[in-house]
């Protein structure tokens, strides 16, 4: 019989992973379907050299999509997927903060311009990312604890 604490960590790891995967799937699909709109959003961020704007708009949503799928479908890859998504979130948050400091509070393009971007005011985007980073940390820690208990 599995120890009770191991089950708790398992549930916590899966819940946090599912939440992160859902957010990134919702974010990536509209951007995959409309790369032109996302390229425009990336350009408006005014952070990348021009030659990198479209390649980022082409590949970044797929990185989000594949990592989100891997989180749920291929649990052994979970640590890598979480680390990658955490890194992306940190980079997005930094980009948003730079633009807020510049005073160019354009749409972040995080959800490909869908209604999800209008639910909360733009200034909450970095906050949302920080919360999601916390969820990623919980998933990583839960996975680690579960591993320790199984050894």
């Amino acid at each position: 019989m599995r120890p009770r604490s191991s089950t708790i960590w398992l549930v916590l790891e899966w819940s946090a992973s599912l939440l992160v995967a859902a957010v990134f799937l919702l974010a990536s699909v509209p951007k995959i379907l409309n790369p032109a709109a996302f390229a425009s959003a990336v350009y408006q961020m005014n952070l990348l050299p021009g030659v990198l704007v479209n390649p980022v708009a082409i590949y970044l949503p797929w990185i989000e999509f594949v990592a989100a799928c891997a989180l749920v479908i291929v649990p052994p890859t979970r640590r890598g997927a979480l680390a990658l998504l955490g890194f992306l979130l940190a980079a997005f948050t930094l980009a948003l903060m730079v633009n807020f400091l510049r005073g160019t509070a354009m749409s972040c393009g995080c959800f490909g311009g869908t209604f999800l971007e209008t639910i909360f005011p733009p200034w909450t985007a970095p906050l949302r990312n920080v919360v999601l980073l916390g969820v990623i940390c919980i998933a990583l820690e839960a996975g680690r604890q579960r591993q320790c208990l199984r050894l």
Partner: protein, 173 residues
């Protein structure tokens, strides 16, 4: 005397999960994303160019011209709060087919005529929100520059335009 045992018990080995290393997972995810991204780019009927000059977009031109850009969220807040005169720079036909709540038709193509019709509303201190069809149209920017020449001081360009507004599920008239 029994020799000391340095081996790991079999039961412990069996219970050890064969987790892939995070680095291998990372590499796998990136390779798959590279594959799917390239594939999508190759099979997509209308793909974006691999490299594109965005400097001629209305956003870039507005930034250079010093016109204040507002995001979809900011535009929504301004429209719903009221107090701003919303100007639709598209054709009258497009305006009739649907426009932002409370918007006034001010086609850029006939901006001279429209200006005299709406002159009473266009006081210099009146806040204006100008938009056209989408983020690729120039009409709203041209209208914003025209109105600035006429003396308007509070011009906000909603460069994402009516398309972004409609796609976000916001109310239209």
């Amino acid at each position: 005397m029994m020799p000391p045992q340095f081996s790991i018990p079999l039961s412990r080995l069996e219970s050890t999960p064969r987790y892939w290393s995070a680095a291998a997972s990372l590499a796998g995810i990136l390779l798959l994303a590279l594959f799917f991204g390239t594939l999508a780019q190759l099979v997509r009927p209308v793909a974006i160019p691999w490299i594109e000059d965005h400097s001629q977009s209305p956003f870039a031109k507005a930034r250079v011209a010093g016109v204040e850009l507002v995001s979809l969220e900011q535009a929504k807040d301004m429209v719903l709060a009221g107090g701003v005169l919303v100007l639709d720079a598209r054709s009258l036909a497009d305006f009739d087919a649907g426009h932002l709540p409370g918007a006034v038709s001010f086609p850029n193509a006939t901006r001279g005529e429209s200006y005299y019709e709406l002159a009473a509303l266009l006081q210099p201190e009146q806040a204006l929100l100008v938009y056209c069809s989408s983020k690729t149209c120039d009409d709203a920017l041209q209208l914003a520059l025209f109105l600035r020449e006429q003396g308007s001081q509070k011009i906000h360009l909603f460069a994402e335009g009516f398309q972004a507004w409609r796609e976000a599920g916001l109310p239209t008239e």
